[in-house]
Symmetry: C2
Subunit: 345 residues, 2 copies
């Protein structure tokens, strides 16, 4: 089955869900252009989720992919978190932040029955999961509405695992991709492969349609992934400069700079490896820190630094998520970008 | 200018030079099939080089690419080398190796006027360099014979540097590639990009023809790189099971195993990051060890372990070089493989 049939869309171009740099306008623009827009939902509480879904329903009749995380929340790690804050002490001092009174960080909750309760009334056509899948009962529940399920694989083993779990399509997330790596069977980042190696090996291993992600930023990239046998593509970084994105001015400037050539997988912003443009936080604390508390606990301590630095117009502590090819970022509408990607089909 | 015109070949398919797993038969077979075979020369002394060139001249009239390294040899590091041997002490004990009487390791010499003296009589049509380029005078000398010069770039910056130095074509070495990374402007492996990100950005940045390398193992991969704008491809891993390769039985078995899915960049075998299948040495000493002496000094201490382990039919200490996609390795002749890759043109 083609992705067009599976999702009832015209173009097998999926806009990657990107928490922190987009809201419903980007998703709606992509879906209205014939692709599949995505809304990142992992940082939304149930009230905010309800509000977001109500907005989407009012503004488009096109399908939108709703994205959720499936990590296992860690136990609190008071000693490790204290050590992490201690490591950040000199920065707190520099920015005049009271390290004894840090606010709670941004919430990243795994998909739950409470979230499913909200979704149920909307019976969303497409749901995507990152960091694995929810448990069997919860997965069965969302499938019972007819929702199509997609999820990220970063290894052949993960792709086979996802196929066995009964989902509808697999996103092969190459190492070039920006933002959080979706791995869930092993933490060994050496297992993570570039798109050119990962995509054909997953396609060979599974029967499901495979969506290519990681480093695809223009029509040529789309043509190349289709030549490798992809059913479609998921692009994120390319959309970051679109007017419909909420990418900050600092983040936009970084994407347009030479610095965008230098990204790294880092865990300093959240506790899990994610690809972003190398800045002071990554350079001085990472890129991969053994001290960072488990996902998502690392973010609470670094977020006040981000806020304070950004007030001074500095991105030193901001997660400047970006894939390894920012050269495709264009200040054009999301619809135009979607169609320009689709020209490579 | 096309690679076919540049190198006087029929097919823009280059067999990657792979020291330790090939000799002239593989290079000759690929060139006779219409591609460009390569001979790794960095581990040859001048006598062996003369012998190899004489063999090539006698056996084929087709062009062969001669590959040399351009690293700056490090100062001896007696303390670091002693610490490295100490780290290996328990392994020496296990294999009954006298750590006080280790033989000198394999030599890896940078390209030199002495080597050029040998080349001069042969005026080789194509010379490739890894880890940068020789100095201006030496480069001018080999160019004066009409030799076409190619070299590896792992970043856009390196590609621009190579173009400015006046070479004829650039190999974009994606992170998926097996064997030694060719980086030479920065040691930061975070700068290294997957083929999907690196190739189009280098193509956009330079006017020279760009050869794609890293993860390309079959006709589909060739088609994909051509869609991204490559002038041709360089494939290495795919040739490792060909009968013309000298890949050891242990290495062949590893390539055919599931273990080939798990590669890592490691410096434990030579001191420089190179991609190989994860084995005991990589797992226990690396993958990247801060203790490993600078390239190529690390290899002297580990080579006796390799030799001893291989005698016991174990690849625990062997560099099992391999790219991130071993699925294209086939036990077919190098000619057949070359033509099957070319089917994707």
């Amino acid at each position: 089955m083609t992705l067009q049939e599976l999702f009832d869309i015209e173009l097998p171009i999926i806009q990657a869900p990107m928490a922190g740099v987009q809201d419903s306008p980007l998703a709606i623009a992509v879906s209205e252009a014939g692709g599949l827009g995505s809304l990142p939902c992992a940082m939304l509480g149930t009230d905010a989720l309800l509000e977001a879904l109500t907005t989407l329903q009012a503004r488009t009749r096109k399908p939108i992919n709703l994205n959720f995380f499936c990590h296992t929340p860690p136990q609190q790690q008071p000693e490790r978190e204290a050590a992490w804050r201690k490591l950040l002490a000199s920065y707190y001092e520099q920015y005049g932040i009271d390290s004894q009174a840090l606010p709670a960080g941004p919430q990243r909750r795994p998909f739950s029955h409470e979230m499913a309760d909200v979704l149920e009334a909307f019976q969303p056509p497409v749901i995507s999961f990152h960091f694995g899948l929810p448990d069997k009962a919860l997965l069965a529940r969302v499938k019972s509405w007819g929702s199509k399920i997609i999820a990220s694989a970063t290894t052949v083993e993960e792709a086979l695992w996802l196929e066995a779990a009964g989902i509808d399509a697999i996103i092969a997330q190459g190492l070039e991709a920006g933002g959080h790596r979706g791995h869930f069977l092993s933490d060994d980042t050496n297992l993570q492969m570039g798109t050119f190696a990962l995509l054909p090996q997953i396609i060979k291993a599974v029967k499901l349609p495979v969506i290519a992600a990681g480093g695809i930023v223009d029509a040529r990239g789309v043509t190349a992934t289709m030549a490798l046998g992809a059913a479609g593509v998921q692009a994120g970084t390319a959309y970051l400069l679109c007017p419909e994105s909420t990418t900050s001015a600092l983040h936009r400037a970084a994407l347009k700079s030479n610095g965008a050539c230098h990204t790294a997988l880092t865990n300093v912003f959240s506790g899990r490896p994610a690809r972003g443009i190398v800045n002071r936080a990554i350079r001085e604390l990472g890129p991969m820190s053994h001290s960072a508390p488990a996902f998502p606990l690392a973010s609470a301590a670094i977020t006040p630094l981000r806020t304070a630095a950004e007030k001074q117009n500095s991105g030193d502590f901001s997660p400047l998520w970006c894939g390894q090819n920012a050269s495709g970022c264009k200040e054009i509408s999301a619809a135009e970008l979607t169609l320009s990607l689709a020209a490579g089909l």
